[in-house]
């Protein structure tokens, strides 16, 4: 029964092999050997999943500019850094942690340092009530891997995404969140993934599996950040299955250290009348790539896939979003706003796909970028692919500088130019942040935006 469901789903997802890749190698045999045996390795389907993913990595290497999905983002720096698996890192100094951590008030915190689960730093999460289970991913792989058969590797598509292949090939630790039918968890869960390289650059691949059965409700915040030091590669992946009428609020904050690489992916399947409500905040990291693929599988399934990013210095941010309307009357909303200063580059690739049967679908996508000087570059590639005839789909993109009229309005009230710019930049981002439906999460994101702005020298640069 379970197996057939998995097979059916896998078929539906139709994992495609990636096109011609012009890759270099990293994460080669040396890395794989250093990783060693991983949890669940003696469960054949889990092992096969890893081996297939590694084979894809081996065959194609790290994608280069000829791969469409990586046209605007170079992974040269990742390829040229000799990462070691993070589990081999000596213990790191966590004393500065409380200063940088974007903790969510009131949340059940599950903490990972370099991808390794830290029960000592996490909240107690056993006994949260009937039908709520948070379990370390490695424990599940070791003791009851088959409980994940419906979801693990079903939606992640290692053949389509380098990010997914790398995570799936080396996944070791993480968390599994499972809510039974009609269970509503009030308290938010915060998955906290902290990067901190020792004397050598390290890489880690945390895996989060979230399953909400029919009618369940939860809020999950993923916070990725790091401590200064050697560059690290954070490669998290979240695979999410929402049963009928389930509601998941899923908010990701990525504020990694400025030397760090972050390559993350979210893959979501939303069944009939279920709702996936999400936000991505990306503020840190040298190179950040966030991928999200949402499959609206059932009638009236809905998704909000909003986001905000702020870039300064030499940062590079790339958001790749795919929203698939696969059933009638599905709804998607997407608004992503970015602020760019310095010599940065922002990429937004957004695809909305509407299948032939997905009549009366409603899809909206908007990307807005605000340039604070003449240094940054924005690449925006929206794509609508519609096979149904009765649909309402709209997309738009704007890239512009700050409105001098707005600056004048604020200055005419006595606010100096720097403060006026700060207010306007904050307002530009808050405009989308304010749509986060969960209040504590909204407050956290607002605070992170404010803190980010306070640190930036970007705001004075535009002066003539």
């Amino acid at each position: 029964m379970l197996a057939s469901k998995r097979t059916k789903r896998l078929k539906a997802v139709k994992t495609m092999t990636a096109g011609k890749l012009d890759g270099k190698m990293a994460f080669d045999d040396t890395y794989a050997n250093a990783v060693g045996a991983l949890p669940g390795a003696n469960e054949s389907w889990v092992d096969r999943l890893r081996q297939t993913s590694r084979a894809i990595l081996g065959a194609h290497g790290i994608p280069g500019p000829k791969t469409e999905a990586w046209k605007y983002t170079s992974l040269n720096a990742v390829a040229n850094t000799p990462f070691i698996p993070a589990t081999k890192v000596d213990d790191v100094d966590l004393s500065s942690l409380p200063l940088v951590a974007p903790f969510l008030e009131n949340a059940i915190k599950v903490v990972f340092i370099n991808g390794v689960f830290r029960r000592d730093l996490s909240d107690e999460f056993d006994g949260l009530g009937v039908g709520v289970a948070i379990t370390p991913f490695a424990d599940v792989l070791n003791t009851s891997p088959n409980s994940l058969k419906d979801v693990l590797g079903v939606f992640m598509e290692p053949g389509e995404s380098f990010t997914a292949a790398m995570n799936t090939g080396f996944m070791e630790q993480g968390a599994v969140i499972h809510l039974s039918s009609d269970v509503q968890l009030e308290q938010p869960i915060q998955l906290i993934s902290i990067g901190a390289s020792g004397s050598v650059p390290c890489a880690f691949h945390p895996r989060f599996e979230i399953v909400l059965e029919a009618g369940a409700l939860a809020t999950v915040v993923e916070s990725h950040f790091g401590l200064p030091g050697q560059p690290y590669l954070s490669n998290p992946a979240s695979e999410i299955l929402l049963g009928e009428r389930a509601i998941l609020n899923h908010y990701i904050t990525a504020s990694d250290d400025s030397d760090a690489f972050h390559l993350g992916r979210t893959a979501v399947s939303v069944e009939k009348n279920a709702k996936y409500d999400s936000f991505i905040l990306s503020l840190g990291g040298g190179l950040v790539r966030r991928e999200i693929k949402v499959r609206l599988e059932g009638d009236s399934a809905a998704a909000t896939v909003d986001g905000a990013y702020g870039l300064s210095g030499n940062q590079h941010s790339d958001i790749l979003s795919e929203i698939l309307h696969l059933a009638p009357e599905t709804v998607s909303n997407q608004m992503v706003k970015g602020v760019l200063a310095g010599d940065t580059r922002g990429v937004f690739q957004g695809r909305i796909y509407v299948a032939r049967d997905a009549q009366r679908t409603n899809g909206r996508q908007l990307h807005k970028a605000l340039l604070l000087n003449r240094g940054p570059e924005v690449d925006c590639k929206p794509e609508l692919e519609i096979y149904a005839d009765d649909v309402q789909c709209a997309h738009g993109a704007t890239t512009g500088e700050m409105d001098p009229g707005h600056i004048f309005y604020l200055m005419s009230r006595g606010i100096d130019e720097t403060a006026a710019r700060a207010l306007l930049v904050e307002g530009f981002l808050d405009d989308v942040v304010l749509s986060i439906s969960d209040e504590p999460a909204r407050k956290l994101v607002l605070k992170m935006v404010k803190t980010w702005l306070a640190k930036q020298e970007i705001l004075t640069i535009g002066e003539t």
């Binding site: 409105d403 001098p404 009229g405 707005h406 004048f408 309005y409 604020l410 200055m411 005419s412 009230r413 006595g414 606010i415 100096d416 130019e417 403060a419 006026a420 207010l423 306007l424 904050e426 307002g427 530009f428 981002l429 808050d430 405009d431 304010l434």
Partner: protein, 252 residues
């Protein structure tokens, strides 16, 4: 010397001369009204006084309390006591009205060497001001002017004025968009602010406003020049006759 002295002010926009030699002296406590046909430069004058970029002063001076106003940045002017109620207040998404009001108020307080306003004090201040102007208190939680109706925007401008307590206030068509009741509320708000050390320059198309806020002087601005000045009866005359008389002169 008058509190505000505009002398032979010539202003061009994109190389086109809009103001062609404005002379106007206003004393403390006076209310001056400017009327004139569309596109004659009334808003241009208001922007130049407030310090907006893009207006090239080719000749003339403006003295504000003896200081050269044109050499000051817009924010310095505001902190020195100049206020412009915009003809078209701008919508600023994402910036809560209350955040903006607090920032403006604190900028002024810093200038005066005062500490930032205490949160409770600010709240009470806003509560009483919004009540006076019959503005729903909830409105100040919304993004600045975003989705405000025409009349709500104008009330919000007057709220800002009353909060910032300026010494020289320019009101550019603050009456347009206000319904009959709101016009009375806003006018009595302005009248309440009339005082010997505050000067008003009120730009309007309608005599109705001036029957509530009775001006000391009325000026007619046509073709970038003040072509006639008088007392409040001039406004009544204009209401009856229009600008034809002046425009003929202008063409001649």
């Amino acid at each position: 010397m008058a509190f505000i002295e505009i002398k032979n002010l010539h202003v061009s926009v994109d190389g086109k001369e809009i103001l062609k030699g404005i002379n106007l002296a206003m004393n403390g406590g006076e209310v001056h009204a400017i009327m004139g046909p569309n596109g004659t430069g009334k808003s241009t004058l208001s922007y130049v006084l407030a310090g907006r970029d893009g207006y090239e002063v080719t000749q003339g001076t403006v003295l504000f309390d003896g200081k050269s106003l044109l050499e000051m940045e817009a924010d310095e002017r505001a902190r020195a006591g100049v206020f412009l109620a915009f003809q078209y207040p701008m919508e600023i998404p994402g910036v809560a009205t209350s955040t903006f009001l607090k920032a403006a108020l604190n900028a002024k307080r810093r200038e005066q060497g005062l500490a930032e306003i205490d949160a409770i004090e600010f709240l009470n201040l806003i509560k009483s001001k919004t009540k006076d102007l019959e503005i729903p208190y909830e409105m100040i939680k919304r993004p600045l002017n975003v989705g405000f109706s025409g009349g709500e925007k104008k009330r919000a401008e007057v709220l800002q004025m009353s909060l910032l307590d300026p010494r020289f206030a320019v009101l550019d068509e603050t009456d347009s968009g206000l319904d009959i009741d709101a016009l009375k509320v806003v006018s009595s708000g302005v009248n309440a602010l009339r005082s010997p050390d505050r000067t008003f320059l009120i730009i309007t198309h309608y005599q109705r406003l001036l029957s509530y806020i009775v001006p000391d002087y009325v000026h007619v601005l046509v073709g970038g020049r003040i072509v006639e000045s008088g007392d409040k009866s001039l406004a009544e005359l204009l209401e009856a006759e229009g600008y034809a008389r002046f425009e003929e002169n202008e063409a001649a």
